[in-house]
């Protein structure tokens, strides 16, 4: 028995030692900074001296029309999320037919996952430009009179960013759904067909519920990407403009701190973004818990 408890002690001790590097690294570069961000969000801060403003720092920001303009951009980006989920779901169904060469197609669709937003942004910018492929395509289809210059208008530029974002999510989301479809129980479909259910009914009542977990996952990934992964794309493609047309919250954080020197405001916006993501993450966890019970 003595041996056993000394083994337990060894296990606990070594376990703590093994966990320490991760604990130190994550605390130093993520944990402490997020606490600092919380503190400095209540201050006016230029990176060196901080003046305590208290809750009025937040009140002031909430009164600023620019802040709401930026959040509106985030909201508009959210409108792209259903497309960024449903379109790849359709693609996954196509791939799942497993026609000749489907594995090659799968690799091609997933390929953009490997390239940086900087590169994607640069190409996308030319695509939407006045002399770009989009206008040439429109002309080729006899729609030359539409001749767009999306990047020069506020809403147009945001639309172009959203399209690029949806394009870049195709690979990730189709792979998620393809993984999900591999887990489908085919015998359920056959049983339903015996009972006289049509294709649509089978999809709605049997396929979709089984894919639920994967839809949730892809939803989370897509929203997180829309809110926190587009900095480089916006930096390269539009620089946040024209005006505040494509300034989303994450880009506004960078601008506030590193272009205008308002580190306090930047920290506050970071805290707001953190809470948005935390609510999303916790909501997801609770939803999964509920299912498990």
């Amino acid at each position: 028995m003595a041996k056993k408890s000394s083994l337990n002690q060894q296990r606990t001790r070594v376990g703590i030692i093994f966990a320490t590097p991760a604990l130190l690294l994550v605390s130093a570069f993520l944990g402490i900074p997020i606490i600092q961000a919380g503190y400095f969000s209540f201050t006016e801060w230029n990176g060196i001296d901080a003046k305590w403003l208290g809750i009025s720092a937040y009140v002031q920001e909430f009164k600023s029309p620019i802040f709401w303009r930026v959040l509106e951009n985030n909201g508009l980006l959210l409108l792209g999320v259903p497309v960024a989920i449903l379109f790849p779901m359709g693609i996954a169904f196509l791939l799942n037919e497993k026609v000749a060469g489907w594995k090659i197609f799968r690799s091609i669709y997933f390929l953009p996952t490997a390239i940086s937003w900087v590169v994607i942004g640069m190409v996308s910018m030319r695509f939407f430009a006045q002399e770009g492929l989009l206008n040439e395509l429109l002309k080729a289809f006899g729609l030359g009179f539409i001749k767009t210059d999306l990047l020069s208008s506020e809403k147009g530029a945001l639309f172009a960013v959203a399209i690029t974002f949806i394009w870049s999510m195709v690979g990730t989301n189709s792979i998620i759904f393809l993984t999900g479809m591999a887990t489908l129980d085919q015998s359920l479909n056959e049983a339903a067909r015996m009972d006289g259910a049509g294709n649509f009914r089978i999809f709605r009542s049997i396929t979709l519920p089984q894919l639920n977990r994967f839809i949730q996952f892809s939803f989370i990934i897509t929203v997180i990407s829309a809110f926190t992964a587009l900095f480089s794309l916006i930096f390269v493609m539009t620089g946040g403009g024209p005006g505040f047309g494509t300034t989303t919250l994450e880009f506004f954080i960078f601008q506030s701190a590193f272009s205008r020197g308002n580190f306090g405001t930047g920290a506050m916006l970071g805290v707001i973004l953190f809470f948005m993501m935390a609510i999303l993450g916790i909501g997801q966890l609770l939803l999964m818990r509920k299912k498990d019970e």
């Binding site: 590097p21 490997a114 190409v123 930047g266 993501m277």
Partner: protein
């Protein structure tokens, strides 16, 4: 006669997949085609040339920046591997009362967006003189990558039976020995997944590199390119040549380790 084998549905599916393939491959075609044009050729003059490639190497220290990217990736990934395999093993196989809290902390850290911590992290790093070389960027990349890597390693180590570990301990091996001699060799697939995932993540990143590498001599290729595009360079063929060269390493890694990348991506779905 041959066409009889294919139903209209199969043909329709195949055709749509081809169209989609064109849409997904278009950027690559555009980059390759444009990079082999001079500025005049891009604006309508006929033919192709390698003029823009020459110009790229004059404008951007390409080799140096590729090396910088490689070193930053290698540094960050090494730290992540050491930290995440150890922590993952601790969570999976050396459970104590503190384990659930630690695991919760790791999962919680995954939820922290980079932009939420980047300002204090930047100020801290500048006070600690971490912005001069690669070190600030390497540490931040490592910290950002470690939580998910730990999560992945934990789920992998959980798949190793407890009995196996206990038997080795009863035979007189210490926990560090079990980790090095038994658990790590079994976890090679998960380790490769972590490497591939982090390589692409770090190689492609702009924001951290932009802020945490102050000396242009240490810039990574992605940052160099981002700075170039944001600057006055409007020579599109040169930018496309640069884009292409920056994308190649990640694309090659992707083509070789596609399966590991997919595994890493879908690991978060859980069972």
């Amino acid at each position: 006669m041959r066409s009889r084998k294919y139903s209209p549905k199969t043909v329709a599916v195949f055709t749509s997949m081809c169209v989609l393939a064109v849409v997904m491959l278009y950027p690559f075609a555009f980059m390759i085609n444009t990079s082999f044009k001079s500025k005049a050729q891009y604006f309508g003059a006929p033919g192709h040339s390698t003029a823009s490639w020459g110009k790229l190497f004059d404008t951007l220290p390409v080799w140096k920046q590729l090396l910088n990217s490689t070193l930053v990736c290698a540094g960050a990934i090494s730290i992540i591997l050491v930290v995440a395999t150890m922590a993952g093993f601790a969570i999976a196989k050396m459970r104590s009362k503190a384990t659930p809290i630690f695991f919760l902390g790791i999962v919680g850290a995954m939820l922290i967006p980079l932009q939420s911590i980047i300002i204090p992290a930047y100020i801290n790093a500048s006070k600690l003189n971490l912005l001069d070389g690669y070190s600030g960027a390497i540490f931040l990349y490592a910290a950002l990558g470690s939580p998910f890597a730990t999560f992945l390693m934990t789920s992998y180590f959980r798949g190793i039976p407890d009995d196996l570990v206990e038997a080795a301990i009863v035979d007189g091996l210490s926990y560090p020995k079990v980790f090095l001699k038994i658990a790590l060799p079994l976890a090679v697939p998960a380790v490769i997944t972590v490497i591939v995932l982090q390589f692409i993540q770090v190689w492609d990143d702009l924001l951290v590199g932009l802020l945490f590498i102050q000396d242009p001599a240490y810039r990574t290729i992605t940052v160099g390119l981002g700075a170039l595009s944001a600057g006055r360079v409007t020579d599109i063929p040169v930018l496309m040549a640069g884009s292409l060269i920056s994308a190649i390493p990640a694309v090659v890694v992707y083509l070789i380790f596609q399966r590991q990348l997919v595994n890493g991506l879908t690991a978060g779905i859980g069972k």
